[in-house]
Symmetry: C2
Subunit: 395 residues, 2 copies
């Protein structure tokens, strides 16, 4: 074998997902793109808002020299200052550009902060069901992933976390609104999480960083607010992406922000700046950093996502699916009507509806339905969800 | 200590470079930006060519939906096909989109291919003097760097390479035109390199991949042509970046191409596609991939770099500096006039000329002069180089 054994193993372990994905492509070829209803991807269909296009035009016609060159390894000071100003307004904390590093989306930001913090064997606790890339990111940085269960409704189970924190725990990583469940953790449970980690830090005599993976922070419904990690934990780190809130998933723009009073702040910031460079990102794309200075407060139409949620969630519940009501993001994570989630997802696929089995997220017996799709896709798929429900609920 | 011990150690080891860099910033503040002559950075000052701006305008006003979304993890098929077509024309080999992966510049591309190929302890041979990030990239992928000397004129020393290839050698990595020397390896020595590796593969019964880090491939002088790695080695891989040839260092666009007949081709390609995603790049920025389809054949004005080289190289030789004549890139790597290169670079810095000591590239007793600067900087710095030469050549 010529390639890395580890990479080969990862490829084999995820081969069933690839087969499912390829089967979906095949179905689209056989039946036509518009006859297959694809709820399997987290690729937002909302186009970037008009403010983005205007800001981009401005950048393209800006004749200042050096707009496309290398910048400082943490990103443009001016862009970092805009992000910091916004974080300061949100939290009341004295954020400055020093506390912010621009990154190639949240995926890039997570790799950078994990590389900066972890030594081989250091443990990173994540909550199941989880975004399937987390264990890969942890492994890239030579860390060990520790999976912590959540409750049946996907709320934090702090007793379970308590039992899994060890002298090797360096990072706890969470994601709210959550992919794949859409659940927004309550303010109360987050404050308890902060108190638990404070106690553990004292007991163990070492720093535990709490990373909030926040790409869906602004995609919340019913006027809810996501409590920033900085509001309840001093060793808090936010990793953000504009993939979802500005519809820029392909343009790779996000940031990492560190609490102004975090332990070893200067080392964390200097370490991230080094890691950003040596991991090969160097930095987030220059043009997107220029654009972001102009539109840091803009988002796509969140109401449209809320309407899609209402449409799909309400209908699935009426049909007899057990679904936890999601407070944000654009995912539903219902129980499958067969215990074997892969088999159930296959049944849907045979009827041209594509979803992802829960076991891909560490929670079998469920499936992820991603509703960042157009309304017509939802409307046309509903009768199929219903037909399958009638077949298997009665079974 | 809170951050990774390894990252902390890397920070400490490179702290003298940072201090030197900070000293340069301080000097610019004290004396004024235009009184300090900075030859220390590889940040091209050429603005992107007008074709870039026109292509970008077209992309900005393109109303096709989905232009900024996630794309397939290896990049847009259409962009990969354009790159492949060009490689096929260059080499006569049957390149298709399948053999090409779009990457966040060469730094991203190198991290992706090393992650794909290396198991812990696998060795990567590099030639000294070398780009200082190479050992970091190798270490990111859990590999071990083996440094191979070159001749006094920075030509490949194949006997030295022969002695350093072991049963753990997985990759040999070279860079021509070279950073920091500007040397372009001759066709003859590259063909001998290919023959040596072919023999080693047979002897050791395993694949050795030869990676050509090619960001300067199109910045060559006197009508010279850089022999593509594909012309002389079947397990050849090219890593390319448009940072230099299009002046887009900040926009993070490049690619990795694998020889159509390389060992385990499909695994290499699938592994890179996975690595691109899980390392957090996901992909090269979407807009740059759209732009690249339009301007794959365009470069900045190479003649301007050649004029700068002629101006600076000629003058330094006249002053008594020992310099190997560079055939490409925008670097000179003269011997320092004191054995202690750091001390000599400090002497220049005190006279407001900034360069980088050779030991940063694994070759003490030299300094790197980067001439991707405007002509005025070169002209004003020449008397200072001369004054220092008079002082230390006679000493």
């Amino acid at each position: 074998m010529s390639i890395s054994r580890h990479v080969k193993q990862m490829m084999q372990e995820s081969s069933w997902i690839r087969k499912m994905f390829e089967q979906g492509i095949l179905l689209k070829k056989q039946h036509g793109q518009d006859k297959v209803f694809d709820f399997s991807l987290g690729n937002p269909i909302m186009e970037p808002p008009p403010e983005f296009v205007r800001a981009l035009e401005k950048v393209v016609h800006d004749t200042t020299t050096g707009m496309h060159r290398y910048m400082p390894n943490a990103g443009y000071m001016t862009t970092r200052a805009v992000v910091a100003e916004r974080l300061a307004a949100e939290t009341g904390l004295p954020f400055t550009a020093h506390h912010v590093l621009m990154s190639c989306g949240a995926g890039g930001g997570l790799n950078v902060i994990l590389k900066t913090l972890l030594d081989p064997g250091d443990e990173v606790a994540i909550f199941e069901p989880y975004f399937p890339e987390y264990p890969f990111y942890v492994s890239n940085a030579s860390g060990t992933t520790v999976v912590v269960p959540t409750t049946e409704n996907f709320e934090l189970d702090l007793e379970a976390l308590d039992r899994r924190i060890t002298a090797r725990t360096k990072v706890v990583l969470y994601n709210s609104p959550n992919n794949p469940t859409g659940v927004v953790y309550s303010e109360e449970s987050l404050r308890e999480l902060g108190a638990l980690l404070d106690r553990k830090q004292r007991e163990l005599g070492r720093s535990i960083y709490l990373i909030s993976d926040d790409p869906y922070k602004r995609i919340v419904y019913g006027g809810a607010r996501v409590l920033p990690v900085f509001d309840f934990y001093r060793n808090g780190i936010e990793v953000y992406s504009h993939s979802k809130d500005l519809g820029l998933a392909g343009e790779r723009i996000g940031f990492v922000a560190v609490h102004p009073e975090a332990d070893d702040l200067d080392d964390v910031v200097a370490g991230m700046t080094l890691s950003n460079r040596i991991l090969g990102f160097i930095n987030a794309p220059a043009m997107m950093q220029h654009v972001l200075r102009e539109i840091a407060d803009v988002t796509v139409d969140i109401d449209a996502y809320e309407r899609k949620r209402d449409l799909l969630y309400g209908a699935l519940v009426d049909m007899g699916y057990e679904v936890v009501a999601p407070g944000g993001a654009f995912y539903l994570f219902p129980k499958t009507l067969l215990e074997d989630d892969v088999e159930f997802v296959n049944q849907l696929q045979q009827r041209l509806v594509l979803t992802v089995p829960g076991r891909g997220f560490g929670r079998p017996g469920h499936m992820r339905i991603s509703y960042c799709v157009d309304d017509a896709t939802i409307e046309k798929a509903l009768p199929i969800f219903e037909q399958v429900a009638r077949e298997f609920v009665s079974a």
